[in-house]
Amino acid sequence: MNELFVQIILGISIASVPLIFAATGELLVERSGVLNLGVEGMMIVGAITGFVVQFHFDNALLSLAAAIIAGMSIAAIFAFLTQIMLTNQVATGLALTLFGLGVSAFWGRAYSKVTVDRVDAINVPGLSDLPIVGPLVFSYDPLFYLSILMVILVWYFLNRTKKGLILRAIGDNHDAAHAIGHKVVRYRFIAILFGGAMAGIGGAYLSLVQVPIWVEGMTAGRGWISLALVVFASWQPFKVIVGAIIFGGITILQLHAQGFGVNVDAQYLSMLPYLMTIFVLVTLRIRIKSNTNRVMPSCLGKIFHSTQ
């Protein structure tokens, strides 16, 4: 029973990795005041790029780097359009998703019949063999550890560094920040690129670790879920992990329940994560009603144009 419990936790953790990456990236972007709905597109571009590079070069580091660059490149389109050309963020983000899905499917045509070497788990000698704690803490693949590290780094950046403070200020009031002399566009542009990089890794995790094949549309809505996760986490990095685990967990638990013969109605159970997100959104609001603008970056989604 212990063994099963450990395996379930492992399974849930693996399912949450792409979500943690993508949501943490988007969190930084949204704290700077930009709403990028193109996460799904960026993730899937990362997935195909990582897969193609791994297929041709069989080098995990290279594939991940490629996925990062791919995510950043496509995010750059969004950044250019919304920050320089001042286009509407919602529409541009949707176009990005559509474009990303199309490009990845197009490129991936030639790669759907093959598989690649999975990026391996690491095993810390000795430590991994500790009962329960061993497998739970020490035998994930490196990307899992990286995702947690990124959460910590983003938290540290936002809350303990000067630049992070400036970014938050930009997200709350871009006009005031600009008046003080901070470069609003530059911060946001970089944040968007970061979001793209993270989404790229998140996507690559799907095609390189979870199931090492390429399938059109394999992100299956995880980009949208990551967007929800950011709000679920009230724009705070550590809560993203909680949310990701819940989302990842529901699917895995539902499958396990079926295995045990529990007569669950799969569809209704699958609705739970989404309903829960809405529920959490509401309860968050009720609790902090008095403190309304402490949570969402006030300038989220608004177009910034420095009038000169």
Binding site: G11, K113, T115, V211, E216, L255, H256, G261, A266
Partner: protein, 361 residues
Amino acid sequence: MFKKLFINAIRLFLVASISFLAGGAIAAPTKAAFIYIGPTGDMGWTYQHDVGANYVKKHMGDDVEITTVESVEEGPDAERVMAQLANKGNEIIFTTSFGYMNPTLKAAKRFPNVKFEHATGYKRADNVSTYSARFYEGRHVIGKIAGRMTKSNVIGYIASFPIPEVIRGINASYLAAKSVNPDIQMKIVWVFSWFDPGKEADAAKAMIDQGADIIMQHTDSTAAMMMAEENGIYAFGQASDMGAFGPRAQLTAIIDDWGPYYLQRVRAVRDGTWESADTFDGVREGMVGFSPLSDQLPADVRAMALQAIGELAAGTLHPFTGPVNKQDGSPWLADGETPPMFPDLLTMDFYVEGIDSKIPQ
């Protein structure tokens, strides 16, 4: 003299050109089209249909012109794709998924001169045939192998949708496994999709965690096979030989061999002998086949499997042979009795006795 030569030359020319034209007219290729529900890269269901299409091309060469369209959604778009294909002169169109049933019928009405072949459906018309395979015969064989090869006595089954075809597969596998190993237990997980590698992998992992050491699937991707390979257990390829994704794990695969049937039907269109029919072939007719049995099988298991295949091929074995009760205990088949196609097999909506879980409603 030159005049005679000249006239003969003209005659020769006329005869030559007429025969050339006539020959050309007779030799015009038959246009056949295939509509797929997924990508040919699924290495499963759609891939095998494509293999079938290529078989036709190989055997008919220039006599046939084949068009394939991948990933056509089952909704209102399907009807339009069929109409486009018909408009482009295709004389026979194969629609390879159940969900194409009603669009196929509507298109058939619009184009009464085009022949339609609908896979796994149950509605026909003068120009619509249906065809499917007795996949449950394949399940019988792998069920027996599973029953003998499992050490934990837990078999995991990844199921797609609770439709009769899938339930037949589950029941056949279970009965076969149980017949060689009374202690086996079957865990069934429904993923509600024909093709979702992520979910299939998760489902496989969940069952492996719960002790399954053999995985069966009625879904289209290779994810479960890859999971089995990685976790050191066994699995069976579905619709196609998935050995490339599970060199050690795959004990054998059920192979859908559509080629000969497709060839026969396209030739019938060419000869003008095509008629609407309902085909439901199995091992005996060659529509259901198996990939080479794995070396991992001990000699006696191999012999058992080969014997079962032989009996199915000879027509002396029916996977559903009584005595069998339904899950609720009520009797279904008496001793030695085999069920009729309709309604028992075609509308099967019950588990057989011994399976613990319930069919999702």
